[in-house]
């Protein structure tokens, strides 16, 4: 049972921005609603107006232009897991999307909504940060692009301004890049996720890889990897160094999925598994 509200269907980005300005704090952007409606049912959020962005044609679709994969704001997890372009360009993202939530949440929930809600127990932001993704935002003063690592500022916190909507997520897809994401969960959402992306030369990290640990801390955390430049992927020493660095990168938060100590232990274990998966990735 929800309290009364009015849904406004925006048909253009400009219209959505106008509605944001008109209703201010009384309105929320509404996409799949898988988080928003839950929060409203629980009574932790209340908005008299919802701005439905799903009718906006510009926000739909996935496109690969030169070296960037552009994912429109209303693209769902369901769309991503089935998309042939995504499967070719970033197989690790396809695999991740297949394992987000359950089939119903994937069918309705968008990638953009997942990012903006910034719930720490999430999968895509961890991999997308490792891949150097950025978000495109549109507001009254025009558009801006901002790296995802700067956009997510904390638990349930982003740099989205009051007049803005997220228009697309852009992921660079340099062909030499491989990527891997591994996760573990016992509840509905991940207890931990680790992502690795980077160039490989002769079975070694060509330079320091991008490694992020997600879901255990307030937001995905970057692992210090300078010492891994040139390290062999299959070397036991590399795995040890990575596990150590990953454990040092996070300040785990105890919750239903486990204690802080247990989670720090998991971080080491899953950093090793991520490295093994990365070494396997073609």
């Amino acid at each position: 049972m929800l309290r009364r509200f009015q849904v406004h269907r925006a048909t253009t980005v400009a219209e959505a921005i106008e509605l944001r300005i008109q209703f201010g704090d009384d309105a929320a952007v509404y996409a799949g609603g898988t988080e928003l409606l839950l929060a409203m049912k629980l009574g932790v959020a209340r908005w008299p107006h919802l701005i439905d962005i799903k009718p906006i044609a510009e926000l739909r679709g996935i496109a690969l232009n030169e070296s960037v994969l552009r994912i429109g704001a209303t693209v769902t997890h369901w769309d991503l897991e089935r998309d042939a372009t995504v499967a070719r360009a970033i197989p690790a993202l396809s695999a991740l999307e297949r394992n987000v939530a359950n089939v119903r949440v994937r069918a309705a929930g968008t990638l953009a909504g997942n990012i903006i809600f910034a719930e720490p127990h999430a999968d895509p932001p961890t991999l997308l940060m490792a891949l150097g993704a950025r978000v495109i935002l549109a507001g009254a003063k025009g558009r801006r692009a901002i790296p995802l690592v700067e956009f997510v500022t904390g638990m349930y916190q982003t740099a989205l301004a009051a007049d803005e909507i997220l228009v697309a997520v852009e992921v660079p897809v340099a062909t030499a890049r491989r990527a891997a994401y591994v996760k573990f969960q016992i509840l509905e959402r991940p207890s931990i996720g680790v992502a690795i992306a980077g160039d490989v030369h002769d079975g070694k990290f060509a330079e320091a890889p991008n490694i992020y640990v997600g879901a255990v801390d307030e937001m995905p955390r970057r692992v210090a990897t300078q010492t891994l430049a040139g390290a062999s992927l299959r070397d036991a020493g590399t795995a040890d160094a990575l596990a150590e660095a990953a454990r040092d990168a996070v300040e785990p938060i105890a919750d239903l999925a486990g204690t802080a100590e247990y989670k720090r232990h998991l971080v080491g274990v899953f950093a090793r598994r991520a490295l093994a998966a990365f070494a396997e990735a073609a």
């Binding site: 049972m1 929800l2 309290r3 009364r4 509200f5 009015q6 849904v7 609603g33 898988t34 409606l37 839950l38 049912k41 919802l50 369901w78 297949r98 939530a101 359950n102 089939v103 119903r104 949440v105 069918a107 309705a108 509905e188």
Partner: protein, 164 residues
């Protein structure tokens, strides 16, 4: 705000009056469609699963107005009424397979289970056991232990494709 929406509900075009904040499950139950159940109310258990343009959604956390101009399928639409009326309706292969495989006990989760399985078989008529398990992961049953449910879905897949 009240609005009038047109929905293709189980194959029949209907006009329904709803308010914006009404949930799809509330609309359906208000119309007398009691198959989809309220249980976790948090998109976790799958008891309220219905198909919107063929995709499974949690009716407990979907606005009714999302059905506007779209196809909405519930468990009530699966069995085929026989001409003449007197004979019992012909069950959908999934419904028959759930009976044949003892795939339910209390039955509360069953409409959601069958509807979720239907969306799988519509997309992939011959799934592997692993694919069935992955797809049905978000539908919770506290009676059967799941094996009979997986068996039923695979059985129905055999019935609608080549024999197993």
């Amino acid at each position: 705000m009240a609005r009038s929406i047109r929905v293709r509900l189980n194959g029949t075009e209907r006009e329904v009056q709803i308010e914006d904040h009404v949930l799809m499950l509330e609309m359906l139950r208000g119309l007398g469609f009691l198959g989809a159940k309220l249980s976790c109310d948090a998109e976790v258990c799958g008891a309220c699963t219905v198909l919107l343009d063929g995709r499974p959604v949690s009716a407990c956390t979907t606005l009714a107005l999302e059905a506007e101009g779209r196809r909405l399928e519930t468990i009530e639409g699966l069995a085929q009424e026989k001409k003449g009326g007197a004979a019992p309706p012909k069950l959908h292969p999934l419904q028959q397979a759930f009976i044949d495989n003892f795939a339910f006990q209390c039955g509360y989760c069953t409409p959601g289970m069958i509807i979720a399985a239907k969306s799988l078989l519509d997309e992939k008529p011959r799934p592997t056991p692993a694919e069935v398990r992955h797809w049905m992961e978000g539908n919770i049953c506290r009676c059967t232990g799941y094996q009979t449910i997986v068996d039923a879905v695979l059985d129905a897949a055999g019935a609608s494709g080549e024999p197993r």
